[in-house]
Structure formats: structure tokens, C-alpha cells
């Protein structure tokens, strides 16, 4: 059991953000591929609500609940900003906005964990 759950939450959120960044990269790389449907990962809140407290296990081989890693899913038709004639539903602007969001949240997470780290270090001095 971790005394401060926050750091775990932050690393989990960073995992989620990196999956989202990979998905955005996939979308942008395929922004000129005919028929490619834009994809996005499920929101972090729905990922976190699916996870419960991990049960204690006497052996690492026993079944337990692990934090799920987000999986990319197809974006619904109405949510995409642009669908071209070739059936491609990637809007570069939309993807770049998402990428900006990811970068911002990641910067926030790392700076929070940095300040926590400073607090830990201050208690040791």
C-alpha cells in the first residue's frame, strides 16, 4: 500500500497520456491514407473508474486486478471534424489540439511529481 496514492495516479495518467500520444501519431501519420478512420483512447476517467483496489495476493502468480492499459477505439462519425471524400476522418487540426492537451497534462504531471519528490527530499535533510 502506497502512503501517497497521488504518485501512482500520476504515473498511471502518464501511461494513459503516452498511449494517447501514440494514437495521435498514428492518426496524423495516416492523415492522407484513404479510408483510414481516426481513433482515440477512451477518457481517463472511464479507465480509472474501471479499476478497483488491488487485492492482496500471497503469490505473484495469483489472479489479481491490475490497472488496465487504455486501448485505442474508433472515433464516432459525428465527433470527427472532417471526413474527406476518400473516407478518411482525420482532421490534422483536431489531432494537433489533442496533442497540445496531452503535452500540457504531461507537463503538469511531471512538475507535480517533481515537487513531491522535492518534499520527500526535504524531509530527509
Amino acid at each position: 500500500m502506497e502512503p501517497v496514492f497521488l504518485t501512482k495516479l500520476m504515473s498511471h495518467n502518464n501511461d494513459w497520456l503516452s498511449v494517447r500520444q501514440a494514437t495521435i501519431a498514428e492518426n496524423i501519420a495516416n492523415s492522407n491514407t484513404p479510408g483510414f478512420r481516426s481513433r482515440d483512447v477512451e477518457p481517463f476517467t472511464s479507465v480509472i473508474s474501471k479499476t478497483q483496489l488491488a487485492m492482496a495476493a500471497t503469490n505473484s502468480g495469483h489472479l489479481g486486478t491490475v490497472m488496465e492499459v487504455a486501448e485505442p477505439t474508433d472515433v464516432k462519425k459525428g465527433e470527427s471534424w472532417l471526413v474527406t471524400h476518400s473516407g478518411n476522418s482525420v482532421s490534422v487540426e483536431q489531432e494537433l489540439m489533442k496533442a497540445g492537451e496531452v503535452a500540457r497534462n504531461h507537463a503538469l504531471n511531471t512538475s507535480i511529481s517533481k515537487s513531491f519528490h522535492r518534499m520527500y527530499l526535504a524531509s530527509l535533510k
Binding site: S18, A22, A25, A29, S31, P34, A99
Partner: protein, 138 residues
């Protein structure tokens, strides 16, 4: 799934490669916009087209982009009246390539934009990695 951030950089690099191939095709078309045939009535240069497809990469568990193929545009050639030209037919008309310079320039702009977007995502993924590394530094 392998490290998503390195996967992101690999995907972006596949996008950069695809877009630079596209730019190559555009420059080929532009350079040959006035290339006619050699003998009388010969077909001139025909415009090249490029198509992309997404390909699932097992190592990174993500869809990369790759060039599906480079084809030729089947649209009809334009003709110009130029009797002195070596490729002119008996009526004095020369077949000119079906390259529309404006269209190629628009394509070039789009290529540029896509390339920039890929580059942006790549820089951002790299910055994220660097920030993570900076956590270890102090």
C-alpha cells in the same frame, strides 16, 4: 504494447517518410510539366500519382503508414499547336503532359502541412520523454 512514446516516434517517422516520398512525386511532376515525346505523335510524360495505405506493425502494435504504390494519371493529354516541334503530328499539334501546375502546388502545400504535423507530434513525444528523464535528474 511496447513503449507507446517510442511507438509514437516510429509512427511519426513512417509518416515523414511517406510525405517525403509524396514530395518526390510532386517534384517529378513539376519538373516534367513540359516534357513531350521524342518522335512525331509520341505520348508525353504522364502525371504520376501516389497512394498511401496503413499497415499494422506488430512490433509496435500500431498502424504505420506506407506508400501503397505510384501510379500514372489516366486523364487525357492536352494538345498545343506547334508545327516546328519534333513531336508534332502531321497537323502540327504536340501532346503536352497532363500535369496541372496549380494542382501540383496545392498538393505540395498539403504535403508540407502533413509533414509539419508529423514533425510536431514527434517533437512533442520527444519532449515528453525528456521531461520524464528530467525527473531523474534532480
Amino acid at each position: 504494447m511496447s513503449d507507446p512514446l517510442s511507438a509514437a516516434m516510429h509512427i511519426s517517422s513512417s509518416g515523414l517518410r511517406a510525405q517525403s516520398e509524396r514530395l518526390r512525386v510532386v517534384s517529378e511532376n513539376l519538373a516534367n510539366a513540359r516534357s513531350t515525346g521524342k518522335a512525331a505523335g509520341d505520348d508525353p510524360y504522364s502525371r504520376k500519382t501516389i497512394t498511401f495505405e496503413s499497415e499494422f506493425d506488430r512490433a509496435h502494435q500500431a498502424s504505420m503508414v506506407k506508400v501503397k504504390g505510384i501510379g500514372t494519371d489516366k486523364s487525357p493529354y492536352t494538345v498545343e499547336y506547334e508545327p516546328g516541334h519534333p513531336a508534332a503530328d502531321e497537323d502540327g499539334y504536340v501532346k503536352m503532359p497532363n500535369v496541372n501546375v496549380l494542382m501540383e502546388l496545392a498538393d505540395m502545400r498539403e504535403t508540407n502541412r502533413s509533414y509539419e504535423a508529423n514533425l510536431k507530434v514527434m517533437t512533442q513525444a520527444r519532449e515528453m520523454v525528456m521531461r520524464d528523464i528530467a525527473l531523474l535528474r534532480d
